[in-house]
């Protein structure tokens, strides 16, 4: 994946809907074009965060899974 991470949000341990809420708050603090890495271990968020990104117009760059941690990369639009 060819992008630089500007900020990492550790949302591990949180359950629906808090990862989306924290993601929204984190992206609000960031500039357009910046990349946010969201760490989550909530299987719901793996489905929900891409939908969240599509619905809010932010770009989903990719999803990586490392053992229990799911890493979701979003570019702020």
């Amino acid at each position: 994946m060819e992008f630089e991470i500007d900020k990492t949000l550790d949302a591990r341990g949180l359950s629906c809907p808090m990862p989306s809420v924290k993601t929204a708050l984190a992206l609000e603090q960031m500039g357009v074009g910046e990349v946010l890495e969201v760490l989550t271990d909530d299987p719901v968020s793996k489905r929900d965060l891409p939908v969240w990104a599509e619905s809010t117009g932010n770009k989903l760059l990719g999803i990586k899974e490392e053992e229990k941690t799911i890493k979701i990369y979003l570019r702020k639009a």
Binding site: L14, S15, P17, M18, S20, V21, A24, L25, T56
Partner: protein, 163 residues
Amino acid sequence: MSDVKNKGSVTIVLFSGEMDKAIAAFVIATAAASMSMQVNIFFTFWGLKAIRKEGGLIKGQNWMQKMLNIMNYGHAKKLAISKLNMMGMGPMMLKSMMSQKRVPSLHEFIKTAHALGVKFYPCEMSMTVMGLKKEDFIEECGEIIGAVSYLAKAKESNINLFI
């Protein structure tokens, strides 16, 4: 959240005074707010309990209102659940199960929703019937509105829920 135009809007009527139902309303409200949607919650009848301040057992202007408010006492941290309440055992167990899974409590949901710009509207008519005043409710509450103002908001909303 800023810039809510064209992002859609959700209006929820919270009629029920049970913790599980109030949490369902707040899960949807906070998720919608995270999607930059405008969210309104209209608290009516038993639903008013979710936004009552702690303390102040005896409220109302006459004995019937006072009786009702004593028997119906509750706030965000003290609500029954709609099934398996078991005289208060159910809510205790549910609270501990939810905190193990790190689901916020109703009290935390209310704070988060408010920080995200969710608007709380207590119903004027229910307040009058129960003898409750604006100062009986938490500070996060917005203006007190009636059915027509609720409908004006509901008409503009894409998603309308009655819980």
